[in-house]
Amino acid sequence: MATTGTPTNITQGSKTKGGIGESTLRPDGTLKVTGEFAYSSDMWHEDMLWGQTLRSTVAHAEIKSIDISEAVAMPGVYAVLTYDDLPTEVKNYGLEIQDTPVLAHGKVRHHGEPVALVAADHPETARRAAAKIKIEYAELPVITDEASATAPDAVLVHEGRDDHHIGHVPHPNIVHRQPIVRGDADEAAKRADVIVKGEYTFGMQDQAFLGPESGLAVPSEDGGVELYVATQWLHSDLKQIAPVLGLPEEKVRMTLSGVGGAFGGREDISMQIHACLLALRTGKPVKIVYNRFESFFGHVHRHPAKLYYEHGATKDGKLTHMKCKIVLDGGAYASASPAVVGNASSLSVGPYVIDDVDIEAIALYTNNPPCGAMRGFGAVQACFAYEAQMDKLAAKLGIDPVEFRQLNAMEQGTLLPTGQPVDSPAPVAELLRRVKARPLPPEQQWVTAGEQADVRALPGGLSNTTHGEGVVRGIGYAVGIKNVGFSEGFDDYSTAKVRVEVINGEAVATVHTAMAEVGQGGITVHAQIARTELGVTQVTIHPADTQVGSAGSTSASRQTYVTGGAVKNTCEHVREAVLEIGRRKFGSYHPAWATAELLLEGGKVVTDGGEVLADLADVLEDEAVELELEWRHRPTVAFDLRTGQGNGHVQYSFAAHRAVVEVDTELGLVKVVELSVAQDVGKALNPLSVVGQIQGGTTQGLGVAVMEEIIVDPKTAKVRNPSFTDYLIPTILDTPTIPVDVLELADEHAPYGLRGIGEAPTLSSTPAVLAAIRNATGLELNRTPVRPEHLTGTESS
């Protein structure tokens, strides 16, 4: 209590260290660099068994019979389960529509669908036993595209649909449809001096997180189960798992184990239910770890898409109208398709002012691999197409492509096609200006002082197949808009439990949420928020589990906004409670307790004028303050199903890219020399992490521009390249320097003014690279990824 009687002025230096706006380091960093951090695939239990999934080898078939007798008889095998072993009437799960069978029943609808499960004492025994299960299939014709899906006599992927989307679609093989009509596009088209049309194809991208789907299920004494798993949303998993197991939610206790990346690919259930079923059946802990091959079948992918666009513009460069149809292939099960349709349609015009639009987006049911969430979520595909259109229009009008975009750039107040105003800063023109103003990287970096070219700097690198003869440079630009958070009326809340107490004479805080830390750095930011709001240095982040209320998903760029907002809000209430204790104890010592605005800083109670009133430790003594509160951002509404009108989104984030590429036109090889990016983040809570997120997102966009694609055989709907040998993701040699320019224009509606940042950089990266390749080669290039055969004109099909 030494300070209470003798107020002193606090200096700047006594502000709490490690608060928001600082590049504090990850609390899990040391564990991660020493190999001690426990990822889900590292879980281990004495006496545990290994689970293995048997997956269908065909895409669409009736299951005639399953014979497990040989597998069951193998030594070391503890259980073999099929659909018939499911314990309750609930046999399906799903994020929005419960159409995904835990194990196939009667029919398989895509290549790699789970059909049976094995538990054994060695992973190899489990694999061999699974291989001994005999399944007889009667193959059915496969539906692989819009034409085969919507033919009047098409086989239905799901007969007897009973979800609420079915009423709004023209064919049962369409999962969801969202038209958006505003103004009169036909009328406005008459004002156009030029009209461009384009048909674009976006390939199927994979999240390719490095940590495989994995986890450990441990049966508990009360008949329930404990599940340690890598996921993006514990409570959403719980809601889908418990009913299938026939257990009340309290009996399924989930704890987040270390997550090796996610990017949307862990939003759906993978091995969770399977491990629990095997554990409950055998009475032993069961661990499942997918290998990379299985991982490609174990999660949904980014929707491949066909996009048909028409834009018009006047000769002075103003956009007149836009019409588009976006066809997303959702594959065999719905996953997040309805929401992806909502995003693709509502963001299909991009960050531009166009009053007259006619839009339709649909997602198909097919026998292709199921598609769902991936970073950028529907906005990525649209951005690829509308940015190509902008370049085409600019070229036709003879206007510089950046200038053309700036002429039409949205600003704060611009209406989206849904009629919703963008009510926060929208610095689209400025972001473009910034990437354009950046000095260009030097040309022909392979030319060295001596005679010998430095082949490492050439497209193709050390393969040493050229000395630069056919290499041309190109520059391209793109910009995009992404919504933040869950839209269309979803109750997108989060919960935080915060405790402050005195330990060893120092006030410390504990933050407990169910937020999935998937690598994005949420735990770092939560500690920063608690330090800022509570003025303590020591913050412990409690492991994420289902003992606290839902945090919602670590996706949609929402977690810092929503769970960060929940932590902030709970801290504010905790602070009030702490100050109340202070007033009670010390109120009579100093009038400021009653009259001044009080803050907690550097472990002390201070006035907004900087006067110290008390030590936090003295206020609390042995009292602890703990609160658990839910927090919501402002509500949204569903889009009208016929017109698409409605205030469906919460917030937007914007990024612009400039790509510089060098293309070897003889070999069809592309080297991205530089990919610079400018993004508005509202407020950078942790600048180091912000830049890391932007660079990571940019690289995933680069990947889908030039190499990443899951190739599905159009005749059989089988996946051809489920491996890191054949599905390529960028290496450090494929990835250029990524200079990042961060803008901080606060969104007054968001905590600290922040904007979700994770997804926006994935949008414009791809079209910028494509624009640069077009600029270098003069080719039209309407599909992504671009492959050598597209550049050399040797494409076979």
Partner: protein, 197 residues
Amino acid sequence: MRVNFTVNGRKQEADDVWEGESLLYVLRERMGLPGSKNACEQGECGSCTVRLDGVPVCSCLVAAGQVEGREVVTVEGLADYAKHREDAHPGGGCASGACGTSIDAAQRWQAKPLDGQTGEAGALSPIQQAFIDAGAVQCGFCTPGLLVAADELLERNASPSDQDIREALSGNLCRCTGYEKILDAVRLAAARQEEAV
């Protein structure tokens, strides 16, 4: 079969090893050393990189039987390994790794010709500290493999150019970072190493 080998300086014996088991499996599931990661188990991602008699290898591609009588260093032993290297070649003085070079300075840092300088000691190896400081760790799944590869690079080449770093790490995939901060981390470790001389 039984396999005898040294892991992180300690003699180990693994019994009942099935012929098809990889070194990665033996390390993770039998030795209780899960630091080496299992991201592809097909030699494509580098997450499982360890040093086998000093040479970086994908432990998922090494049959357990092949390591009989040999020496393995995993990420769990990296700090110790760097320390012993330091004991053998004293000279570095940066115990925590945090000896004054900022990331900005490291980014401006230019590679110099090879001078045979090696690493320095600390609770964490300099490359481990640099990965944390530079923000090169996000989900961290790629990190152990990258650390082993980067440490070997710096042992061999104390002043790597960006091209050298890219070549040395081209067998290690990272899905989160976009690699820029990984480059920063290697530059930072190299710069600190140089300053410490």
